[in-house]
Symmetry: C2
Subunit: 146 residues, 2 copies
DNA sequence: AATTTTACTTGCAAATTGCAAGTGCAAATA
DNA sequence: TATTTGCACTTGCAATTTGCAAGTAAAATT
């Protein structure tokens, strides 16, 4: 499986064998985790949805990040049920598994910066039972089709 | 405290109020988390130590990342006990608090890539009791002086 | 049939990165 | 004491990446 995939993946210019370095080679830039964030909060997004995010990613950068994330099997494309002109993007299991990292980033940020109320609400849930939150959110994101 | 520090911090060109975005504005590039990693594994590092890391960071990039991390109070400089020509870098509490993120990155990577044996050993400890591991490692990193 | 929406691509300027070669001070060596 | 070496950076420049604005093609709407 891994071998077969590897054929299609762009040469990852791996900087070292360190797992942190290898991870950053895939999603360690200013934009990728924001794309992942959008998919975790909205479950599915169109190209236009990503463009609407408050950070204002440039369209060519978005296209290039989506390409890299797809090549590395973090996200996948889906037919939009309503229109053939639209494309739905969704997290793969590999992408969903970034959830613990995403949560820890939010928790860290909450400790050192003021954060929006709705995000604070979510973290309240997280702090009640982190394991349960991850399990349930993962299940939610994993559900196929709809 | 926060306000006073803010005066000295370079304008952070915050892209949005999202905690993920705000975090990435500080350390969301290809190199910063590797510097943090080195400090977590070695506790204290000199400029030269960072340069020796297998990823091979360029010296000017290193200098610029260290500057940003210091401005944002993630790391701090220390006099080297052996020589005034050397500088020790150490994590602040804010930097040490990235430990849960660092651990989750390692756990994610372990699930999807082959990772070095020594790192796998560490993760074995983590998986025994994550909370305990973080607590003890944090204490270790917090110890002043030496 | 004409317009709008959607997902991109393209061209180019600006910013960032990476390499190689300095620089300046401290420490070790002759 | 003079000289060399080590260490923490800085500087200059080429190459890559980013960001902005405009364009394109197919599909949906009017």
């Amino acid at each position: 499986m891994q071998v077969i995939y590897a054929i299609f993946m762009k040469k990852a210019k791996k900087r070292s064998d360190c797992p942190v370095s290898t991870s950053l080679d895939i999603w360690g830039d200013k934009w990728s985790l924001l794309i992942i964030r959008d998919l975790m909060f909205a479950k599915e997004c169109t190209y236009g949805d990503f463009l609407k995010a408050p950070e204002g990613i440039a369209t060519n950068i978005l296209a290039s990040r989506l390409e890299v994330l797809e090549e590395n099997r973090m996200i996948e494309k889906l037919d939009h049920p309503d229109s053939r002109a639209k494309v739905l993007y969704r997290l793969t299991k590999k992408g969903i598994d970034l959830l613990p990292i995403m949560i820890e980033i939010n928790l860290w940020a909450e400790k050192y910066f003021p954060i929006p109320a709705d995000r604070k609400e979510m973290l309240k849930e997280v702090k009640k039972d982190k394991t349960a939150f991850i399990k349930s959110k993962t299940k939610e994101l994993e559900r196929q089709g709809d």
